[in-house]
């Protein structure tokens, strides 16, 4: 079956106005549904669990004609390098990886940001060894915090669909023009079915316009032509260092400028439920869903708990979190990793950070039953036996 005829619609229509229909699909399928509507020129794949299924489905999209090129490369570093090359060529690209693949490709992520490529990559987070684990765990996000890319963390398949599609529009703003990593906790999101509201598949985003980029495409069509995109390595003098430093500052400033677009398209960098509660849970990804369950159960026991769902990890919503935690006595941060990177981020952002309870944390393939979040909260408010 060949690709449906798709007509281009503006992003606002696709995101906010187009009628949506229910689909009962996996997170991997939600990824493919997003790419199908994103007018992507090219995708490059390399298999790794739990990412593989999504990139199979995108291969199928290519075979049907939704994408213009697609291939299986030789390893993740090669994938991220080739996707960088494709992006230099002035088109829209997509790829995805998981855990060890993320680490293998690590060298390329700061290159994407430094080169100001609006690459969108999905990360289906998993353990990274040692001991080996293919199970859900999002420690890889800790390694990516300072690569310069924007980072969104999806709670469920619906988020994953919306965030990937919207990531293109945010990434490609001329004043942003940075890569976006869209993260979900592997298996929990990728391999489970969920109800996802999808706009029709006969509409797609407008194509990427390389002429709106702050840096010219590498196509010998876009002046000034003679460009070395990787500037200022080859001179050892103050002017070079200062120019290099300025370039870094501009990348950080671009991420800062992305905030208003994230607010507009993702409906805010955070979502707060019951902001007046004295006890708050702050979480991202699947931990948010587990927290919702814990909050419901605690409510039945008469314990009131609020929730901060953090959608944008980079840029980090520092001011928003300061404001949302103003009235809280206790802030519990459940995480799917041993390192506790989200907890560190929150502690660094707010005043009086002894209010922050580190954990619960699960890893190595462990799930996060609501009871361990509830226990942590009860312990903190002195209601534990």
């Amino acid at each position: 079956m060949m690709a449906k005829e798709q007509c281009v619609k503006n992003p606002e229509y696709i995101f906010f106005e187009a009628p949506r229909e229910k689909a009962f699909i996996t997170g991997s399928e939600a990824v493919a549904e997003a790419v199908k509507r994103a007018n992507v020129d090219m995708a490059i794949a390399y298999p790794i669990t739990p990412q593989s299924e999504s990139m199979h489905l995108i291969g199928d999209l290519y075979a049907k004609g939704y994408l213009k090129d697609y291939y299986r490369a030789e390893n993740e570093f090669a994938v991220m390098a080739a996707i960088h090359g494709a992006s230099l060529g002035g088109g829209r690209v997509f790829t995805a990886t998981s855990g060890p693949g993320t680490l293998r490709a690590m060298e390329m992520f700061p290159v994407w940001a430094g080169s100001r490529q609006p690459i969108v990559s999905a990360f289906m987070c998993r353990g990274v060894s040692l001991p080996p684990s293919i199970q859900p765990e999002n420690i890889e996000m800790a390694f990516l915090l300072d690569t310069g890319m924007l980072m969104f963390h999806a709670e469920d398949a619906q988020d994953y669909f919306d965030m990937i599609l919207k990531a293109y529009v945010i990434a490609e703003q001329p004043e942003v023009h940075l890569p976006v990593g869209v993260f979900a906790d592997g298996f929990f999101v990728t391999h489970t079915r969920d109800l996802v509201m999808l706009p029709p598949d006969d509409i797609k985003l407008p194509e990427y316009d390389p002429k709106s980029a702050p840096v010219p495409a590498f196509d010998m069509e876009t002046p000034p032509i003679r460009v070395t995109r990787d500037p200022l390595l080859n001179k050892s003098n103050y002017t070079s260092y200062a120019a290099n430093a300025t370039w870094h500052q501009e990348i950080l400033a671009a991420a800062e400028r992305a905030k208003k677009h994230i607010d507009r398209y993702l409906g805010g960098m955070i979502e707060v439920t019951n902001p007046n509660a004295k006890v708050l849970i702050a979480a991202s990804g699947t931990a948010v869903s587990q927290s919702r369950e814990a909050i419901r159960a605690l409510e039945e026991e008469g314990i009131e708990v609020g929730l901060i769902k953090i959608k944008s990890i980079r840029p980090f919503p520092t001011q928003e979190i300061i404001k949302a935690t103003e009235k809280a006595d206790i802030i519990v941060v459940p995480e799917f990793n041993a390192g506790g990177w989200l907890c560190r981020e929150i502690k660094a952002a707010i005043d009086n950070n002894s209010r922050v309870i580190e954990g619960p944390r699960v890893y190595g393939g462990m799930t996060m039953p609501k009871e361990i979040i509830m226990n942590e909260i009860k312990k903190a408010i002195g209601k534990n036996k």
């Binding site: 490369a73 002035g90 390329m108 290159v111 590498f218």
Partner: protein, 280 residues
């Protein structure tokens, strides 16, 4: 690309950098230049920071002067000495992470085909021996296996120059050099032979001492990569700084190598030979 795309409007002419003006007025675009014309046009900005007598900078100048279509050529490199002259050339040039050049070039070439299906866009990888034979060997070979339409040019100075002269996979056996304090204990990696068995349609081995042969090899490699399949040119670019010979001996050293391990060799597939014959 038409030259008009980079020609500034009158009002901006005088405020543009000198090298930009020279690129517009005296660059290689659309002029069908060759190595015979070197010195009569600006293939490179003069003040590159290569050492005196650098074989790599000669190799780059000669290769760039031989491109059949500089106005639509893009060079992908990798960190190392080659960066210095390439970033001063009149072409779009990018190097990102060490060793990934053939992957970046694969993605770029494919995207240029997607975006400009009716135009000829040549993507040329130009990097040192360490970048190809060592850290990037897997990605080099895979780009050949996949039959990417790119030209790969190795500037073989038989060592890591930019990091201070260490052994590379292309260093000759027995050479005593940094990181091989007792002498290198294995032969040069046979990248030339690997290129043939990995599916390259045109493969040549030349030195910077043979200007026209080098120019012809690069030209043929780029033309074949356009239409037939991957191509590879290995250029011997001796390094006076690290091999400790006088800077005015570079060509002499290269000439001597031609009698020995760097004799001119050329291989092409039947399809490539047929294609080149029909071009003439």
């Amino acid at each position: 690309m038409s030259l008009r795309a980079i020609t500034p409007v009158k009002e901006f002419e005088d405020i543009l950098p000198q090298e930009y003006k020279e690129l517009v007025n005296n660059g290689p675009y659309g002029k069908n230049k060759s190595v015979d014309d070197l010195g009569t046009f600006k293939e490179i900005i003069e003040q590159h920071p290569h050492c005196a007598g650098c074989g790599v900078s000669s190799g780059i100048r000669l290769a760039i002067a031989s491109l059949p279509n500089p106005e639509d050529s893009i060079v992908i490199g990798t960190p190392g000495c080659s960066f210095f002259a390439l970033s001063q050339s009149g072409l779009n040039y990018s190097n990102t992470a060490f060793g990934n050049q053939n992957s970046v070039a694969s993605g770029l070439k494919r995207m240029l085909k997607v975006r400009h299906p009716d135009k000829t866009k040549d993507v040329i990888v130009m990097v040192g021996d360490g970048g190809i034979a060592d850290i990037g060997l897997d990605m080099t070979l895979h780009s050949w296996f996949r039959r990417e339409n790119i030209t790969t040019i190795m500037l073989d100075n038989e060592l890591y120059g930019n990091t201070g002269g260490q052994e590379s996979g292309m260093t000759r056996k027995g050479t005593v050099i940094n990181m091989a304090p007792k002498g290198k204990n294995f032969e040069k990696i046979p990248v030339f032979e690997l290129a043939k068995t990995s599916g390259c349609d045109y493969v040549a081995k030349v030195t910077v001492a043979s200007l026209r042969k080098l120019g012809q090899a690069v030209r043929k490699a780029v033309l074949v990569a356009r239409e037939i399949g991957p191509t590879y040119v290995q250029i011997y670019t001796p390094c006076p700084t690290n091999m400790k010979f006088p800077p005015d001996h570079t060509v002499k050293i290269a000439k001597e190598a031609e009698k020995d391990i760097y004799s001119f060799e050329e291989y092409m597939s039947n399809e490539a030979a047929e294609y080149l014959k029909n071009l003439k």
